[in-house]
């Protein structure tokens, strides 16, 4: 028996999640910011982290966006193969949700229609949509408004297999150094290692979806995450890049098998306004 879900339900949920994500900072990030405030060695850094926490309180209490960059909307769909969607086109339903969520939530329209013509679409569509078919009869929607302060300083490199873990670490650190003060540190670093060119990039984005501060379930990768976090925080960039010990809150790494000839690595940077909300229908 197929479970039926009407696309209107998807639109309604996407609209709601766009607003919630932009107003309410996740508890995982809040906890890490509080911890960072305690441990930060720079007095100015401490002060900045306090302001970031205060800002999150105001945004939540007053239902206003945490950051003026309310992002390009990335939507991950996990569609159970025993679900039957009724009521029309899934992509249209998601974009209608984004349109409504951004308009009704007083969120900023930050999407332009063409890379060169650059005319604002005025409804923040289209969303970037990733659909994965999974077993079961559930439909999971993750809405991840992605700000471009961090996105602009993300990068990908196809390393040689011989460069190994050392080469991967070197590239990640180089990328974080290149980002420097630009992506509003403290940042969250999503890393994808393996797969193909596009798979590595998607893994890096998905790494950002994992609870911030929760280590990888693979012990070898968890150690790599810890080492990288330590090295990044030794760079001295600190909150807002004005100097200090908190440059990143977390490094999340996802891996995938890869070709005998290659070692792809992608780094996706996010700022501390790390926003994502999900629902399971």
């Amino acid at each position: 028996m197929l479970k039926q879900i009407h696309t209107q339900t998807i639109t309604d949920n996407v609209a709601r999640l766009c607003q919630e994500a932009n107003y309410c900072l996740g508890q995982d990030v809040t906890e890490l910011l509080k911890k960072a405030k305690k441990e930060e060695v720079s007095p100015l850094g401490k002060e900045i982290l306090q302001q970031v926490l205060e800002n999150a309180c105001i945004a939540q209490e007053e239902s206003v966006p945490l950051c003026q960059d309310t992002g390009m909307t990335v939507v991950f769909i996990e569609l159970g193969q025993d679900v039957h969607l009724t009521g029309g086109d899934l992509t249209k339903a998601i974009n209608e949700g984004v349109r409504r969520g951004y308009r009704e939530g007083y969120l900023r329209m930050s999407v332009v229609n063409h890379p060169f013509k650059r005319k604002n679409t005025n409804d923040n569509t289209p969303a970037v949509i990733h659909v994965k078919i999974v077993p079961g009869d559930k439909l999971k929607i993750i809405v991840f408004p992605k700000g471009f302060g961090g996105e602009n300083f993300s990068g990908l490199k196809m390393l040689l297999p011989g460069e190994g873990k050392r080469g991967v670490k070197k590239f990640i650190l180089e990328q974080v150094k290149l980002a420097g003060s630009n992506p509003c540190p403290p940042i969250i670093v999503g890393v994808g290692i393996g797969g193909t060119f596009e798979k590595a990039a998607l893994l890096a984005k998905k790494a950002l979806l994992r609870k911030v501060g929760e280590p990888s379930s693979l012990s070898e990768i968890a150690i790599l995450e810890k080492e990288l976090l330590h090295e990044i925080n030794s760079l001295g960039f600190g909150p807002q890049g004005l100097g200090g010990s908190t440059t990143a809150l977390a490094v999340n790494i996802e891996i995938f098998p890869c070709h005998i000839a290659s070692l792809p690595v992608a780094v996706n940077i996010n700022c501390s306004a790390h926003r994502q909300k999900e629902v399971i229908l």
Binding site: Q51, L107, C184, L242, C271
Partner: protein, 207 residues
């Protein structure tokens, strides 16, 4: 003279300003004068009062093109402070939506020209290019940093908001903001000081 500490009239000596850095914000009023700018050093907390002009990527591009064609701006840039922001739409009852700074480095290519036309300050987040740092020195202007990601908090210091130019740019249009105690930090002063370079040197741990 529009410069006063938060506790009274402005009579601080240079040495005292240095000591107060990071602790006592200086209340400043726009337009910024050379006399005030000379007193500012990297790391100084400042509460800005008066008028800010908003402009970011698209507005800078348009302004630049306008000037390149030999046109004169319908308003003076003398002493003005430009804030790199495109706020979220105001909810009913709000003056402005969330309004934090955007990354300044994207404006670097346009900034020296605007400094030459008399702007005395820019506000954004993130390090500026060596060309901008040099131009700040040459034209005696300040780069202030506001805390990125505190857009809801910053919006509280914005009291009025008026469209000035390029309405077709929507959130990116040029707006005049009247601000009260708008919190910023001096990131580049006219003596070549750079808060980023200094901060990184101080807090980096050598492996």
């Amino acid at each position: 003279m529009f410069c006063a500490s938060s506790k009274g009239s402005y009579t601080l000596k240079e040495s005292e300003i240095k000591k107060l850095t990071l602790l006592t914000p200086l209340k400043l009023y726009t337009p910024l004068t050379d006399e005030v700018i000379e007193k500012l050093r990297v790391g100084q907390r400042v509460l800005l009062n008066g008028v800010l002009l908003t402009a970011r990527d698209a507005a800078h591009k348009k302004l630049n093109k306008f000037l390149e064609l030999g046109n004169e701006l319908p308003f003076s840039l003398k002493g003005l402070v430009i804030y790199y922001v495109a706020p979220t739409p105001a909810k009913p009852g709000q003056v402005i939506g969330s309004a934090g700074p955007t990354t300044s480095s994207r404006m670097d290519i346009y900034t020296p020209r605007l400094l030459a036309l008399g702007i005395k300050g820019t506000i954004g987040h993130g390090k500026r290019s060596p060309q901008v740092v040099k131009a700040l020195k040459k034209y005696q202007a300040i780069y202030f940093v506001a805390v990125g990601g505190t857009a809801a908090l910053i919006a509280k210091s914005i009291k009025e908001n008026r469209l000035i130019a390029f309405p077709e740019l929507g959130a990116e249009s040029i707006q005049e903001l009247v601000v009260e105690n708008f919190p910023v930090i001096v990131a580049n002063d006219i003596y070549g000081g750079d808060i980023y370079e200094e901060g990184w040197k101080k807090y980096a741990i050598k492996p």
